[in-house]
């Protein structure tokens, strides 16, 4: 069902783009055919999002050209790209927190009624209709502020498919979603494709690529490696091409004998978000917190760490109570939380990489209360190297890093505090296979060293691969506690969804 003959709706012809010192993209070309889903894969920092931003008119290529259905096109800004029928889902949600969800979706193309005024009723109806198409329950009237990452991502998707665009570009749309939403998304994308739209799909999950895409373009270090039909390539081959070497086993979980209980959570409750959550994590144990998006996992771990308050319940580390609503005391007790939303919660985007990495430990690094550049730089350098982070200078704003590299900085930041309890919320979200393996290896080494690890993840393979025990949350409660032997996709999904098969 590929259309070699048809002219591509959109074509990238050896474009290059660099930011000051960094060459993000260096000569890359590929076509997007109508009625075809085209995958774009590459390591973190390979230049995928940069290409997306060029297609969206956010960046202008330094060299090279874009062709819209054969015609050369130069986008001065996002407006031009939109006009050319290109809809984009950016890697990071770009919502207007103060506006209602419906308005967010309609922004820029609101239906107009009398005297050119906006037809608010229709705006609302169209939003509701889109959500039912995606099979989610979000009130179109509610403001976008306070949506969970996942809900935000879904609104972004609704935004993109709402406008009848001929080219749909999706930069890691599934990163925040769990299996169920991903399935729904794919269904919608397939219909769009069959209606003749061209789709560019970016993801670090190969099963998704093989499932959804016809064609795949592989990038490395900003350069174009190859463009082939997906069915002509094996996953291993793709990985080899994008990493530039063979990868060893993906989930090197080493078995460790769990030690004493380190983290104790007792009857934790928070009005309207979660209720009576109790569990323990032992030294050397990796416990996964699974469940559907919006089941309250992040809220739980945030309450445990103390960034959110809690209405009742107790948290103990090595038997010592941790003061509620005070991350400092949690950190003092040896806790660390790698949050789910790296832009808002994980990093201070305008600060340098170095400052971000050392922020939690500034106190410890100070000599006589004073901080000289040296200590911080060494610390930051050590951990970013260890996680193979890709950056120009340690003094660059962390915001200029690629999504995945930002995630690595977050990890570096918390690992540098050498925690006794490590809580990670979607630790490998938006991370490429190589680094993912790296992170998993890291987690299991830490576990082996006796760290208690609590991992929130929406990726079942990850959960099954890493966890000694799987806690499944449903509607703000712990629905099941499944030990490794009995943990299977089925058992987890069943517990997560309960009887009714819809969220």
């Amino acid at each position: 069902m590929t259309r070699q003959d048809a002219t591509p709706l959109l074509e990238v012809r050896d474009v290059a783009k660099s930011f000051s010192a960094v060459a993000a993209v260096r000569g890359c070309s590929f076509p997007l055919y109508p009625g075809e889903v085209h995958a774009l894969v590459g390591e973190n920092g390979a230049g995928k999002s940069t290409i997306v931003k060029m297609l969206a008119g956010v960046h202008q290529p330094d060299t090279g050209t874009l062709l819209v259905s054969g015609e050369e096109a130069a986008f001065a800004g996002p407006a031009d790209a939109k006009a050319a029928g290109i809809a984009v889902i950016y890697q990071e949600p770009t919502l207007f927190p103060d506006l209602s969800v419906a308005e967010n979706i309609a922004m820029g193309r609101q239906p107009r009624g009398r005297f050119g005024a906006i037809d608010r009723g229709r705006v609302r109806r169209e939003a509701a209709e889109l959500f039912s198409r995606l099979g989610v329950r979000i009130d179109p009237e509610r403001p976008a502020r306070g949506l969970s990452i996942a809900d935000q991502q879904i609104v972004e998707i609704a935004k993109a498919i709402g406008g009848s665009a001929s080219v749909l570009i999706m930069d890691e749309p599934t990163a925040a979603l769990s299996a169920v939403e991903v399935e729904r998304l794919f269904a919608v994308v397939r219909t769009l494709r069959d209606e003749g739209a061209a789709v560019l799909f970016i993801s670090h999950r190969f099963e998704e690529i093989t499932e959804l895409c016809e064609r795949v373009t592989i990038m490395r270090d900003g350069a174009h490696v190859s463009t082939d039909l997906v069915r002509d390539l094996t996953v291993d081959e793709m990985v080899r091409r994008m990493v530039g070497r063979d990868l060893d086993a993906l989930f090197p979980k080493q078995d460790v004998e769990p030690g004493a209980v380190v983290l104790e959570v007792e009857d934790l409750s928070r009005e309207g978000v979660f209720r009576d959550v109790s569990f323990t994590v032992r030294a050397g144990e990796i416990v996964a917190l699974a469940g559907l998006v919006g089941s309250g996992r992040s809220e739980v771990v945030q309450a445990v760490f103390g960034v959110d308050g809690r209405d009742s319940g107790a948290v103990r580390v090595n038997g010592k109570r941790v003061r509620p609503g005070d991350p400092r005391s949690a950190m003092a007790a040896g806790m660390a939380l790698v949050p789910e939303d790296r832009r808002q919660q994980g990093l201070v985007m305008d600060l340098s990489i170095q400052r971000n990495v050392t922020l939690p430990r500034a106190g410890a690094l100070a000599r006589l209360g004073l901080l000289g550049g040296g200590g911080e730089r060494r610390e930051a350098g050590r951990w970013t190297e260890r996680l193979r982070t890709r950056y120009g200078r340690l003094t660059d704003p962390v915001g200029t890093l690629s999504g995945g590299n930002q995630q690595k900085v977050v990890l570096a930041k918390w690992l540098s505090t050498s925690p006794r309890v490590l809580i990670v919320d979607e630790p490998t979200r938006g991370i490429d296979v190589g680094t993912k393996a790296e992170v998993h290896r890291l987690m299991s080494t830490l576990a082996a060293e006796g760290v208690a690890v609590l991992m929130v993840s929406s990726e079942l393979p990850e959960v099954l691969g890493m966890a000694d025990r799987v806690l499944v949350m449903r509607e703000g409660r712990i629905a099941a506690d499944i030990p490794r032997p009995r943990a299977t996709e089925e058992s987890i999904m069943f517990a997560a969804m309960g009887q009714e098969a819809n969220t």
Binding site: A16, S18, S20, A21, V22, A23, R26, D62, T63, D221, G222, R245, V307, D326, P327, R328, A330, M331, L337, P339, Q344, Q345, G346, L347, V348, M349, D350, L351, R355, T358, L359, P360, A362, G363, A366, G369, L370, L371, G372, G373, R377, G381, E385, R388, T389, R390, Y391, G392, R393, L394, T395, K413
Partner: protein, 344 residues
């Protein structure tokens, strides 16, 4: 990549940025004024200039930290006025000046705490809160002292404030000012607190997730701001040997102007203390020199305003020029490989 070389480049680019520019301009202005304006160089005048810039300089120190955290304190001038008024009435009540002065500083701190509570506990936007307290504190000042003005402060103290060290041109008040300036500079640029201040300003949520006690931090900054304003009130009162409810009326905008002129981002997260001090100095120099040249107040206003805008405008322009040039260079020359850590 070589760290040292990067650090060098880093500090260079920072100097080329706006606060660096302001420092440069300030120095130039001083030199030019000393050379060209007669009467400017005289010890007498130098002393006076320092006395004139003292209140703004003092208030600018904590204001800088507050603005870097993304908040603002418009009530400083009113706090100054209220402490001045209270100082007057306490003096009338026959209390000893040695007790009054610390009490006034304490009062300032309390007033600052009021702002702090509204901002951190009730979570109200500080711009709104401090516009409110701006009116409130000034009003209370009137309530305390009403129409009267207290003048008969002990000569020893008033002359100390207006006097100079031995028979140099260095005013006595310069010493506490420099001390405080040093403290605030170190705190902002070389302590964990300073790091927290920048983090809170550039990304509050992320800061909280990193264990920064943002609210506590902001609260204490407002307290500090109040305390310094209290001290400024005392010095103001002694300098003019006159405690009045309307002392320092409208000073807040001048302070904010000086801080912004120093290159602090009003959105928080960016700024340097040396820049701010340079900003204060620059404003004071211009005011003083232009007055000596019989430039009218009106013209002074225009210059001040223009300066404020230009100080931000120029660095922006130069930066965009630099990057444009860079882009062109990159187009021609082949791009160097971005640094990749050694594969294991």
């Amino acid at each position: 990549m070589s760290g040292s070389e990067n650090r060098l480049r880093g500090s260079f680019t920072r100097l080329a940025s706006w606060d660096g520019a302001v420092i440069l301009v300030a120095v130039v202005a001083l030199v030019v004024a000393a050379a060209a304006v007669d009467g400017f160089g005289t010890s007498n005048n130098v002393t006076f200039m320092v006395l004139d810039l003292l209140p703004i300089a003092l208030l600018a120190l904590p204001m800088t930290l507050i603005i870097v955290t993304g908040e603002i304190d418009l009530s400083v001038a009113s706090t100054l006025g209220l402490t001045s008024a209270v100082m007057g009435s306490l003096w009338n009540s026959g209390m000893a000046i040695e007790t009054i002065i610390p009490l006034c500083v304490l009062l300032g701190a309390v007033l600052g705490a009021v702002n702090g509570v509204f901002v951190t506990v009730f979570r109200l936007p500080s711009l709104a809160v401090t516009i409110g307290t701006l009116a409130l504190f000034r009003g209370l000042a009137l309530v305390v002292l009403g129409e009267s003005a207290v003048a008969d402060f002990p000569v020893v103290f008033t002359t100390w404030v207006t006097g100079t060290v031995a028979d140099t041109a260095i005013p006595n008040v310069l010493l506490p000012l420099l001390l405080l300036a040093a403290v605030f500079t170190v705190v902002l640029h070389a302590t964990p607190v300073g790091r927290a201040v920048f983090a809170a300003g550039a990304g509050e949520q992320a800061a909280r997730f990193s264990g920064v006690r943002v609210d506590r931090l902001k609260f204490w900054l407002f307290v500090a701001s109040g305390a310094v304003a209290g001290l400024a009130g005392v010095l103001w009162t002694l300098r003019y040997s006159s405690a009045r409810a309307d002392n320092g009326l409208g000073l807040e905008l001048a302070v904010v102007a000086a801080v912004l002129l120093g290159g602090v981002s009003i959105f928080g997260g960016r700024g340097t203390m040396p820049g701010v001090l340079a900003g204060v100095l620059l404003l004071a120099t211009l005011q003083n020199a232009l007055r000596l040249e019989d430039v009218t107040n009106e013209a002074l206003n225009i210059v001040t305003g223009a300066l404020l805008i230009v100080s931000v405008l120029l660095p922006n322009i130069s930066r965009s020029v630099r990057t444009a040039a860079q882009r062109r260079r990159l187009r021609r020359t082949p791009i160097p490989q971005p640094a990749t850590p050694p594969a294991p």
